[in-house]
């Protein structure tokens, strides 16, 4: 897959809702799910996806309101428009779920992911890795004479692109956080 491949439905925003609910095309959607931060809530969400055969491309979760015991789960999932609607309805009826937002259709949103890349090499490859990291505004967070760990933040596509470039330069390990996303504006 080309690093610049724009995923359907995930980046283009129109003033009009033009999605055909009967379409059989598979779309990628980013959902923000506000939940009570209680024991087992993540298992409930994951169990819903596995039990009903839905996809999870990435999933992040952390408490965002300590006083209110509220966590935010960001799920990137794939499905036909009908399946996406089902996923949202099924999430919505879980008891600890307060809100489900489909950031892909509700309006413009920013989506960011953080990743750590360990690249091993010497000589020209090492120099090239560092140069590319600079272009991608990745930070060096660890360095030995034979390796770097780069920290990069950006869209999924940007991180995919960076990974594609690092692979021939000695990429030996990757850690990615999954997507965190917020709607733009207020």
């Amino acid at each position: 897959m080309s690093a610049l491949n724009i995923k359907q439905g995930s980046t283009s925003h129109s003033a009009y809702e033009l999605r055909d609910p009967h379409a059989e095309t598979v779309e990628t959607h980013t959902l923000a799910v506000m939940v009570d931060n209680e024991a087992g809530v993540l298992a409930r969400v994951i169990g819903l996806f596995s039990g009903r055969g839905y996809n999870i491309d990435s999933l992040t979760v952390a408490e965002v309101d300590h006083k209110g015991h509220r966590s935010r789960i960001t799920v990137v999932t794939r499905g036909t428009p009908g399946v996406i609607e089902q996923i949202k309805a099924q999430l919505g009826r879980l008891v600890p779920v307060h809100e489900v937002h489909d950031l892909t259709v509700e309006g413009p949103a920013v989506e960011r992911e953080l990743a750590l890349f360990k690249v091993a090499g010497t000589g020209e490859k090492r120099v090239e890795a560092l140069r590319l990291a600079d272009i991608f505004r990745a930070n060096v967070v660890d360095s030995t004479l034979e390796s770097f760990v780069f920290e990069i933040t950006g869209t999924v596509e940007k991180i995919d692109a960076f990974a594609d470039l690092m692979r021939p330069l000695g990429l030996i390990d990757v850690a990615r956080t999954g997507v965190a996303a917020l709607a733009r504006g207020i």
Partner: protein, 584 residues
């Protein structure tokens, strides 16, 4: 009211404060403190079952026949795992249950302790919600929330796992009014614009049909009354799913009978040919729709459901209305009346004459016999001899269940308890006991097959101990009838493992349990035998020996459409083709 008390006492106090009168349960090590509290009070009656699955089905029968949540108390480990089938059954059929399980003490959780199981993990996908309570101070609130969640919105089973040290420890009890309820407040009022749009469709429709489901019954008796009022005032025909039988009376002038795989010809053809389908609290189950691509191809579909996830799940609808059936029907009637109670009389008259034509098919006809009791005949006679009673019927799962749905007629909601979604063999006997406990004076009959009945027959002990005079009407064909029927249709008549070998003598079995046993194999003696069953003041096991190879018709074979039904005299071999064979 705030008081200090032990967790175990809190459980009993919360049940009392929630108006619980009866608990179905089975003691064990991890719930001993709660059983000790039950021992020391007289407000809550405890029904001791013989197997935890039986407890859950009893609670389902209790809940379905009263509209109140059924309560179950079982121990940790095997007590909880034995409850899983019942929980799944209740989830599929939207039955409100509160199930309390004991758990090993908190400090032992995760050590593979004796009778430890990850109960909340195991039951997460088969409950509406569940909790592990690790702090006695949280217990009262959790108990009150559990009742709220079991009943609110689309009802369902909830489970609270209570470690033994939490039961012993002392904490603060608060009553239901003080409890902080969850944010969980499903929408009950339907969108008034959508309701008005539905009224417009009702005014114009030439070939309308009400397709009603268990949601009407769950919404309460008021919803059933409103349905009758609306259906009778509009003159629209009504068909119902298995779960919805009784919401509209079988004697009502709009009644078409049950629809679906073994539904009536006229009901299925009305669904296929209608121009307006009004789905009230049903969920387009695969037993109902047949082949989706050919499901009611020319209709506008409206769907009223309290669960947004039911809408557009299987069949895309044109007019979704999220809300409680009772509330929506009330608003719908108001708007329809205010707009002048209009319907398309001309269209309706034509539609009814078409339906009358379909009825002439007499789709439930079967070949009678003077020597063998036909199962259909047995149910016709049971219907004739019991229709005067305020009768409650439960069933097991299989052919007898479908025949009961076809031949028994229900005039009121909450009188028909059957395992619809999950199709749990072994449901009917315990469910009948639960119904009888709730309605001690009523006539409660479990229409059973011998194979299903054997799955939970230990509960006869419970019936006898608690003097529940349940009538077990077993249509004994010495076969797993529905499995055998499918093997005939799909597998060349190779009846793999579908006969009941080494059956007990049911009359002697009745005597062994200490109740009455009746056997009948002669159609001429059947009425007297049924009368004897009804006259007996106590539980009865009725062994009705019926035709062994009778098939249940009409039938929409898997993968076929509503207008492609098999009738009683049809050739059946090869009826299910490759595409349908993978379906169940």
């Amino acid at each position: 009211m705030q008081q200090q008390m032990t967790g175990a006492r809190m459980v009993v106090q919360a049940l009392k404060d929630q108006g619980v009168e009866v608990v179905f349960g089975y003691p064990g090590g991890a719930v001993l403190p709660i059983y000790d509290e039950i021992f020391q009070q007289n407000d809550i009656r405890h029904i001791l079952v013989r197997h935890e699955q039986g407890a859950v089905h009893m609670a389902e029968g209790y809940a379905r026949s009263t509209g109140k949540p059924g309560v179950v108390l079982v121990t940790s480990g095997p007590g909880a795992t034995n409850a899983v089938t019942g929980l799944t059954d209740a989830l599929m059929d939207s039955i409100p249950l509160v199930v309390l399980t004991g758990q090993v003490p908190t400090f032992m959780i995760g050590t593979d302790g004796f009778q430890e199981a990850d109960t909340v993990g195991i039951t997460r996908p088969c409950t509406k919600h569940n909790w592990l309570v690790k702090d006695t101070d949280r217990l009262a609130e959790t108990l009150h929330q559990a009742f709220h969640i079991a009943k609110a919105g689309r009802p369902g089973p909830v489970l609270i796992d209570i470690p033994k040290d939490v039961q012993f420890a002392t904490g603060t009890y608060a009553g239901p009014k003080q409890a902080r309820l969850s944010h969980y407040q499903p929408q009950v009022k339907g969108d008034i614009d959508a309701i008005t749009r539905l009224v417009e469709l009702i005014e114009q429709a030439e070939r309308p049909v009400f397709y009603t489901g268990g949601g009407v019954i769950n919404s309460g008796p008021g919803a059933s009354q409103l349905l009758c009022e609306l259906a009778d005032a509009t003159g629209f025909p009504v068909t119902s799913t298995l779960m919805g039988l009784g919401a509209y009376p079988a004697s009502g002038k709009g009644w078409l009978g049950m629809l679906g795989m073994h539904g009536l010809y006229e009901a299925n053809l009305a669904m296929h040919g209608c121009d307006l389908m009004i789905n009230l609290g049903a969920r387009f189950d695969d037993r109902i729709t047949g082949r989706i691509a050919d499901f009611s191809p020319r209709s506008i579909k409206a769907h009223v459901d309290i669960d947004p996830s039911s809408i557009n799940k299987v069949v895309r609808v044109d007019l979704p209305i999220v809300g409680d059936i009772g509330h929506v029907l009330e608003d719908l009637l108001k708007v329809w009346k205010a707009r002048g109670r209009k319907v398309n009389r001309e269209g309706l008259a034509k539609w009814w004459s078409q339906i009358e034509q379909w009825k002439l098919k007499n789709c439930l006809a079967y070949k009678g016999s003077t020597t063998t009791i036909k199962p259909q005949y047995a149910l016709e006679r049971l219907e004739a001899l019991t229709s005067g009673h305020d009768r409650y019927v439960t069933t097991e799962v299989g052919q007898h269940q479908m025949w009961a749905a076809q031949f028994l007629r229900f005039e009121a909601p909450n009188r028909w308890m059957t395992s619809g979604g999950l199709g749990t063999m072994g449901y009917g006997l315990p469910a009948s006991i639960g119904v009888q406990i709730a309605h001690p004076e009523a006539l409660v009959i479990n229409v059973a097959g011998e194979a299903s009945w054997l799955m939970n027959m230990q509960e006869m002990g419970t019936a006898i101990q608690f003097r529940a005079p349940v009538k077990q009407f077993i249509l004994n064909n010495e076969r797993l009838g529905m499995v055998r029927q499918w093997q005939q249709l799909l597998h060349g008549g190779r009846y793999s493992q579908s006969w009941s070998e080494s059956l007990p003598d049911f009359v002697k079995l009745a005597e062994a349990f200490g109740c009455k046993g009746i056997r009948c194999s002669d159609p001429a003696l059947l009425d007297d035998a049924i009368a004897e069953m009804l006259d007996h003041d106590g539980p009865v096991i009725f062994d009705c020996l019926v035709e062994k190879h009778e098939n249940c018709y009409p039938m929409i074979p898997s993968g076929k459409a509503h207008n492609d039904m098999l009738m009683g005299d049809a050739g059946v071999e090869g009826a299910i083709q490759a595409g349908g064979a993978v379906l169940v």
